[in-house]
Amino acid sequence: MPVAASAIYFLNLRGDVLINRTYRDDVGGNMVDAFRTHIMQTKELGNCPVRQIGGCSFVYMRISNVYIVIVVSSNANVACGFKFVVEAVALFKSYFGGAFDEDAIRNNFVLIYELLDEIMDFGYPQNLSPEILKLYITQEGVRSPFSSKPKDKPVPNATLQVTGAVGWRREGLAYKKNEVFLDIVESVNLLMSSKGNVLRCDVTGKVLMKCFLSGMPDLKLGLNDKIGLEKESEMKSRPAKSGKTIELDDVTFHQCVNLTRFNSEKTVSFVPPDGEFELMKYRITEGVNLPFRVLPTIKELGRTRMEVNVKVKSVFGAKMFALGVVVKIPVPKQTAKTNFQVTTGRAKYNPSIDCLVWK
């Protein structure tokens, strides 16, 4: 079968196995050695995240100082594999409370084993939703030694039966104070030629939501009329609308969103998971107003010296202000000495990321 993973390994940067789980017998135990000698100890590392050695393919990702390697023996679905790793890492993070690194793994290996068993069975991904898993995988799942028949059955059994219906939310939640937080995070990507022409500019945005609501609420989020999500063909047919609309190139939603209703009514309606999640993502390429203009000039002074002059201008309205502005200037790895002249803020050289950083 194309999607079944044979094993998953967590390795540290030296190539030691931190933890592993073999789901199927069709790969040998020495496969991870093959990975170590053929990928980690050669320059191959970082050249390509999918490699084939022998009859097996290795799909790997580096997350902080850990390599997560999925071994498959057949023609697997790669996108699925990567997505699984990403989701699994998110799950671990929500369990460990933030960081996911070598130490976190070493301190929680029992938990990780449990989770690995739950999220994947015989190589097929199962439920990875932290909400549901947290109900029955806990480190505090102690039962008092002699009461082998607990009186109140824990909630999981009730919800597990409805995993199909709303797999991301459990029933019976109750909060004294019902709260919803909504954040919009946008990242503007700009590519400018050395002459200062804008080559490409796009925005990827996320709507993040934090919910503390009781019961099974059905939420609706209306998008204002300025937002147009139109297919290219329609756009061509009536091009010159007033420049006020924001054309979203593409939108994707969290699995809780009723996509059919979005397509018909343009409202985002959903039963939210509890806690924090990413409700939607969108992408815009047309009509992006840049918040800043950056004017760099680079002079090479001889063979070993370089002068970089960066001017940053804000282009947004006078009433608004920006916080936490950071400018990073990548420099060659061999940089030995740096000198700064700043009109405001502070700058320093950060060798670990080969960048000059201004705050």
């Binding site: 079968m1 079944a4 931190l18 017998d25 970082g46 050249n47 390509c48 995240p49 999918v50 009859g55 393919s57 498959v72 057949s74 023609n75 697997a76 679905n77 790669v78 996108a79 990567f82 997505k83 790793v85 990403v86 290996f109 029992v110 449990e114 069975d121 015989f122 097929y124 199962q126 439920n127 990875l128 939703s129 029955y136 480190q139 799942g141 102690v142 039962r143 030694p145 002699f146 059994n157 597990l160 039966q161 199909g164 990507n189 590519l191 030629s193 080559l199 490409r200 990827t204 190139d249 593409d250 994707t252 939603f253 699995q255 996509l259 059919t260 979005f262 397509n263 993502k281 992408r283």
Partner: protein, 842 residues
């Protein structure tokens, strides 16, 4: 009781020895085992954690197996889980001990907490000990009927695990039908999804030997089942959705309404946050509309923006996977991203594998309207600090030029690269200029003037140097000092480490000699002398060949070495369209990433008839196939266009990128000519005249082409005329081998001379080829050899496939024949046997 801890392994010296710790643990566990004091669970937990942590870092703790099992009588779920984990890890190595666990696992399977029932069932099925399967059936059966969905989910996967340990037990217990009814009636989506994956796996394995399973497998793809899944798709989690979409791809819709229904149903999946779901949906759309051209085009339009979103969001690894797919799409439909080329501009902080794919994308989307911008951007990358990327981008510029867009400007740009005076830039550019000249000879004047100014001393890389030397030879008449540069290079023959460069030097010296004989004569003499004395076999052979052909007749030599050239119109594609189609069929899988169909890389059991050759590791399929098929193709190719034929040959070897094929041109162009000139030589050359066709195997081998169609003693006129130039690629062969029924099995004996000659498989292959029976794969070592042959009817494309196993110690050959036309398979077998019986005869 537990065995002594003798077999402990210490994976690295830095880790604790573990021996004393393990025995410590053992005594402590034993003390706790019987205790019922309060708080004992907590101390047990600590101990268990220790055991598991030892297990994780690789210390063998299997010696405490007995104690662990004794302690497992607990109601603490965390303890139980750790115990299950431990048991699951060591059961396989200790089948006898695992019998101990069966008891408590079976008891737990009846626990009233569904959590424990599920966990116990999972551990029970994960023991993977074949002699315990009998204990699995009961718990699995009740697990499937459990009223808790968690237990059912686990039981369903358990059935699949059981099937992998012992298929017969699983089938005998009638589990597949039970799964089917669960799949169609269970209310829980995860149970249904697991049933689907289990059934797909079981039935596709069973299908090879059971008709019923085959029918069942088909029934999964029937309209009601597919619609049942698709209508419920929103109930499933994202992974199960992928599974269902993958199933839907295989569905053959009855009419166009059917197609549109499915597409309407699935359209919103394109907005799903999970990239895997989006890709799977894209695959469904593309496959469904294959037959409807205009809808297919609309599909490309529709999927464009979701795919671009996927590229720009997510980790670089994910973008990499998506970009590979985009590349596949853009090759099929170049217009699709033509206006969105800016999305493929590289960002400085992207990993090199993403950048590399983006460069490929930029090359692929280039057309008349955007070439200028793309090439401008690519030229920026040529100065990149990452040398690999700089090289790639130069190559990309060259590839775009070869696509015939805006050549004029690109040539200028390439020539500017030469002025950058960076070793690798110059080397890459030279190679490209050479390729361009082969396609657009009209630019030679501009290029040569610049190239002439480059000092060969500045180029260290063999490929760049070879390209420069090729140009020196080819355009000797336009470059005033070409002979002198060559002379200089030849003087430094000893310092030239690359055989490729030396080969090119020989050829260039020859070409130069034909154009400007007086100036080059001395240099040519030196080169030939040095070449003949060269320790590299190819260089030696070529020098010797040039020498003899010059000795024979200078005009013949000129015809051989420097024939008038036609411009190359199209550089051969590295992949046949058939292979591309196959990759497209396997969209959303590793095939796309590796850019080859799955049969080329999946494990042995999927490789079908080629299995053995891999096991023995003697001869791989590819070189074998190429050397046998190439002659056939090459003859045709030679007629048409010399250079084209060469490129094709390279493709078959699977060696070449577009550039790779180009460098080797001069060398191959000679070798293919050699075949045609060989007869002449054999008459005149005193050394070769001694070798008769029969005994010249070694000689043939060196040239790699062989006198394959040279008339060996003609067999008594067979009933069946075979096509001496038959060609079949390994993929097609494999497919046919799987599909066709066995028409004949025959055993015959091989004559003793044949056995004596069969020291390596190649000797038989050559022999059979002279009877128009071609080998596609072979392997084995004395005394057992195995061959796969194929042949085609002379008049029509009807194939015969044969497997032949020869045992040299018993002098027997076993032949299995499969044929497109069953009726003539007997005739073919006769031909085959006749041919085989002549093997080894002088």
């Amino acid at each position: 009781m537990a065995p002594p801890a003798a077999s402990q392994r210490y994976p690295s010296p830095s880790q604790p020895s573990g021996k004393s710790e393990v025995s410590d643990l053992k005594t402590q566990l034993r003390q706790l085992a019987g205790s019922r004091a309060p708080g004992v669970d907590d101390s047990k937990r600590d101990l268990y954690k220790k055991v598991i942590s030892y297990m994780t870092i690789g210390i063998d703790v299997s010696s405490v197996f007995g104690e662990m099992v004794m302690c497992s009588a607990t109601s603490d779920i965390v303890l139980k889980k750790m115990c299950y984990l431990y048991v699951g890890n060591y059961a396989k190595g200790n089948p006898d001990l695992s019998l101990l666990t069966i008891n408590f696992l079976q008891r737990d399977c009846k626990d009233e907490d569904p959590m424990i029932r599920g966990l116990a069932l999972r551990s029970l099925c994960s023991l993977r000990v074949p002699n315990l399967v009998e204990y699995l059936v009961g718990p699995l059966g009740s697990g499937l009927k459990d009223n808790n969905s968690y237990v059912r989910t686990i039981a369903v996967t358990g059935v699949l695990k059981l099937y992998h340990i012992s298929p017969s037990t699983c089938i005998d217990a009638d589990f597949p039908p039970t799964l089917k009814s669960l799949m169609l009636h269970d209310s829980d989506a995860q149970v249904v999804a697991n049933c689907l994956s289990a059934l797909q796996e079981i039935w596709s394995i069973e299908a090879s030997h059971s008709e019923e399973a085959c029918r069942e497998k088909e029934s999964l793809l029937s309209k009601p089942v597919i619609y049942y899944f698709l209508n419920r798709i929103k109930d499933f989690n994202e992974w199960a959705q992928c599974l269902i979409l993958e199933l839907a791809v295989k569905y053959v819709p009855s009419d166009s309404n059917d197609i549109f229904d499915i597409m309407n149903l699935l359209e919103d999946r394109l907005q799903h946050a999970n990239g895997a779901v989006v890709l799977a949906t894209v695959k469904v759309f593309l496959q469904l509309t294959l037959s409807m051209t205009d809808v297919h085009q609309q599909v490309y339009e529709r999927i464009k923006s979701p795919l671009l979103t996927l590229v720009s969001s997510g980790s670089p690894e994910q973008s990499y996977a998506i970009l590979s797919h985009l590349h596949l799409l853009v090759v099929r439909a170049p217009f699709i991203f033509a206006t969105d080329y800016k999305h493929f501009y590289c960002q400085y902080n992207e990993p090199s594998y993403v950048k590399k794919l983006k460069l490929e994308m930029l090359t692929a989307v280039a057309n008349e309207s955007n070439t200028y911008e793309i090439v401008t951007e690519l030229c920026e990358y040529a100065a990149n600090v990452d040398i690999a990327i700089a090289r790639e981008s130069i190559r990309a510029v060259g590839k775009i030029a070869l696509q015939q867009y805006d050549v004029n400007a690109i040539v200028d740009r390439l020539l500017q690269f030469l002025e950058m005076e960076k070793d690798y830039v110059t080397a890459e550019t030279l190679v490209l200029v050479k390729d361009l000249l082969r396609k657009y000879p009209q630019w030679s004047h501009d290029c040569i003037s610049v190239v002439g100014g480059i000092s060969s001393k500045n180029i260290q890389e063999p490929k760049g140097k070879a390209a420069l030397i090729w140009m020196l030879g080819e355009y000797a008449q336009d470059m005033s000092d070409a002979p002198y540069i060559l002379e200089n290079l030849i003087e430094n023959w000893e310092e030239e480490h690359s055989a490729e460069v030396r080969l090119h030097l020989l050829t260039a010296a020859m070409k130069c000699f034909f154009k400007r004989a007086p100036e080059t004569q001395k240099a040519l003499g030196t080169a030939l002398a040095a070449g003949v004395a060269d320790f590299h076999q190819d260089v030696h052979d070529r020098a010797l060949f040039y020498y003899r052909v010059l000795q024979y007749d200078v005009h013949v030599a000129e015809r051989v070495v420097s024939p008038p050239k036609q411009a190359v119109s199209v550089f051969a594609d590295t992949q046949s369209s058939e292979i591309k189609d196959r990759i497209f069929d396997e969209f959303n899988s590793l095939s796309v990433i590796y850019q080859k169909p799955s049969y080329m890389f999946t494990d042995k059991e999927h490789r079908g008839p080629f299995e053995f050759s891999d096991e023995l590791g003697n001869i791989s399929i590819t070189p074998e196939a190429s050397s046998d098929i190439v002659p056939a193709q090459q003859y045709e190719a030679n007629d048409k266009d010399l250079l084209l034929g060469i490129d094709e040959k390279d493709d078959n070897k699977g060696l070449s990128s577009n550039n790779g094929s180009a460098y080797s041109a001069p060398s191959l162009e000679n070798s293919s000519n050699i075949t045609s000139q060989m007869q002449e030589l054999a008459i005149s050359g005193p050394a070769t005249s001694a070798t008769t066709p029969q005994s010249s195997f070694g000689f043939d081998d060196l040239l790699g082409l062989g006198l394959s169609t040279a008339p060996a003693p003609t067999p008594s006129p067979p009933l069946l005329k075979l096509n001496p130039r038959a060609a079949l690629d390994p993929g097609a062969f494999q497919q046919k081998w799987r599909q066709l029924p066995l028409s004949l099995t025959q055993e015959c004996s091989v004559n003793p001379q044949g056995i004596a000659a069969l020291t390596v498989p190649q000797s038989l292959i050559r022999h059979m080829q002279s009877h128009s029976i071609h080998c596609i794969a072979s392997g084995g070592q004395s005394p057992n050899f195995k061959f796969f042959f194929f042949a085609q009817k002379e008049s029509e494309p009807s194939n015969y496939l044969a497997e032949c196993i020869i045992n040299t110690s018993s002098a027997k050959a076993q032949i299995k024949v499969k044929a497109d036309e069953q009726s003539t398979s007997q005739a073919f077998t006769t031909v085959f046997e006749t041919a085989l019986s002549k093997f080894g005869m002088p």
